[in-house]
């Protein structure tokens, strides 16, 4: 279970997240929506501590995963990130072969067993619904894949390290409609085994894939509710306005 307790976040002087609290249940898909610059991506990146890379940032409040504060000094960031996978806005495969892209996380963990890696690569690619398309060209460069395939490769790469949680930061924003629907189907299928949090600016997508939705605006979590409820009868006026298209 993921939990945020009264989280505030600053980029230098800029107050990017204001007093956010929420709970995310296991094996659900949760979508964050909201206008650009509302803090939804920043909030998402808190859960694998990706914001650590940006200098001059500050966090108050608590982020908990399974009851453990992930910003505790005792937490090993790399272990955390192995447990919390991430898929980025633009597909970002390494300039390596398809096989080596998937195997990266395993090799980093110090696994050298060839058969095991082989098996994990196959399994991950199957889970990401990419196996049939690439099984004959595992030794080819990942750049030879189409954009949609590259993004599924990145999902497979995240799956290979067996995380419990997968964070997706607008995973389909750079893709065409067909590739997008493939990714959405994939998210449905993955729900059984993973907890998925997805940031999207596409409300239809949020409605299609998620169980719960959080609406962010100006660094605040305006409303957080079951997706169906949120889109049919939102509680807050701002949500209503956004969903009906009165905000960009």
């Amino acid at each position: 279970m993921i939990e945020a307790k009264n989280v505030d976040f600053y980029y230098g002087d800029f107050h990017a997240l204001k007093g956010i609290s929420m709970k995310i249940e296991n094996n659900t898909v949760t979508a964050f929506i909201g206008p650009s610059g509302c803090g939804k991506s920043t909030f998402l990146r808190l859960f694998n501590r990706m914001n650590d890379l940006i200098p001059d940032t500050r966090l108050t409040g608590e982020c908990l995963i399974n009851g453990q504060n992930i910003y505790d000094k005792a937490v090993d960031v790399t272990e955390l990130r192995k447990n919390v996978g991430m898929v980025f806005q633009k597909p970002n495969p390494f300039p390596k072969t398809i096989f080596e892209n998937i195997a990266f996380g395993l090799r980093v963990e110090g696994i050298n067993d060839k058969n095991f890696i082989q098996q994990q690569v196959e399994e991950s690619l199957k889970s990401a619904a990419l196996w049939e398309e690439v099984k004959d060209k595992l030794k080819k460069s990942a750049f030879e894949l189409s954009g949609g395939q590259q993004q599924r490769l990145c999902i497979a790469r995240a799956l290979a390290i067996k995380p419990d949680i997968i964070l997706m930061d607008e995973p389909a924003s750079a893709l065409d409609p067909i590739s997008t629907s493939k990714i959405e189907d994939l998210i449905h299928g993955l729900k059984e085994n993973y907890t998925i949090v997805i940031v999207t600016h596409n409300m239809q997508q949020a409605a299609r894939v998620s169980d719960k939705t959080g609406f962010f605006m100006l660094g605040k979590l305006v409303e957080y509710n079951d997706t169906k409820k949120m889109f049919l009868s939102p509680e807050k006026e701002e949500t209503q306005n956004y969903i009906t298209g009165r905000f960009g």
Partner: protein
């Protein structure tokens, strides 16, 4: 666990390495400055070498180097800027400009001793200039061309196309647009490149060995067909083949320091000018 230890060891090694190499580079600078600073005096800068170049000053070498800087600048600045304007504004993006760029890069990679050979064959022998300021300046000018072309081209490329379109839309011709809009805007960065090329010219030895440099010539040049002494060659001479190496050591340290100071000054000047210009542009 092992990955963590690896990281610790690796980072420790890199930190030490970083400090070590940076320290080494500073040691070289410090060593020359420490040994040379006591030698530099008004007499050293304005006197003639005496007693087999073991005492006295280095005025002829300083004047010679200044002559070469001036001469090579006169040759290389206009040529380099013309060439850069052509390839950045006129040549488009076809095969031609690629060819030119490859050629410029190749010329930039040609060792300076080759320029020395070439300058000797063409300017000294074929054109009959003899060992002279003009032969040396031409050789050094050609040597710095690639540097000048590259920096000028970068400066021109940095000007957004919207300014060119704006100029053309106001009815200016292409040439007018370049002359009145693009060049003035790129000017600070072009100047920076030119100053850096002067720094390069003042330190080059190999190209002047056979085109101009005199071993010992205790008088100032009177025309462009005179031979001159030059700082880098003078340092080479008193460091390796003077009459009394031990006795001329202080002279060598002093000359090395003067050379370093010229290079440092040029770099500082370039940085300062760039800052100043960019401030001026902002306040407008």
């Amino acid at each position: 666990m092992t990955a963590k230890t690896n990281q610790k060891i690796a980072f420790c090694v890199f930190r030490i390495l970083g400090m070590l190499v940076v320290g080494l580079l500073f040691w070289i600078l410090g060593f020359i400055i420490y040994n040379g600073i006591g030698v530099i005096s008004w007499e050293f800068l304005t006197g003639y070498p005496t007693a087999g170049m073991t005492s006295g000053g280095i005025l002829p070498a300083i004047v010679g180097t200044l002559c070469l800087i001036a001469g090579s600048s006169i040759i290389a600045f206009p040529l380099g800027i013309l060439s850069a304007i052509y390839s950045s504004e006129y040549a488009g993006n076809g095969k031609m400009v690629q060819f030119i760029r490859v050629m410029t890069n190749n010329l930039g990679g040609v060792p300076s001793i080759i320029f020395g050979l070439f300058g000797m064959a063409l300017f000294v022998n074929t054109l009959g200039f003899g060992d002279s300021i003009i032969a040396g300046s031409l050789t050094l000018g050609l040597l710095t061309l690639p540097l000048i072309i590259r920096t000028t081209e970068e400066a021109l490329k940095a000007i957004p196309d919207s300014f060119r379109t704006a100029g053309l839309a106001l009815g200016a011709t292409k040439l007018q647009t370049i002359n009145r809009v693009v060049l003035p805007m790129a000017f600070p960065n072009i100047i920076t490149g030119l100053i850096l090329s002067i720094g390069r010219v003042s330190g080059e030895t190999a190209p002047i060995l056979f085109t101009v440099a005199a071993y010992f010539l205790p008088k100032l040049p009177t025309g462009i067909f005179d031979q001159v002494m030059a700082l880098p060659y003078h340092l080479y001479v008193i460091a390796t083949s003077g009459t009394d190496l031990e006795a001329s050591r202080p002279m060598a340290y002093g000359t090395a320091l003067v050379l370093i100071i010229i290079v440092l000054l040029m770099n500082l000047l370039a940085t300062a000018l760039r800052r100043w210009f960019s401030k001026k542009v902002k306040t407008h």
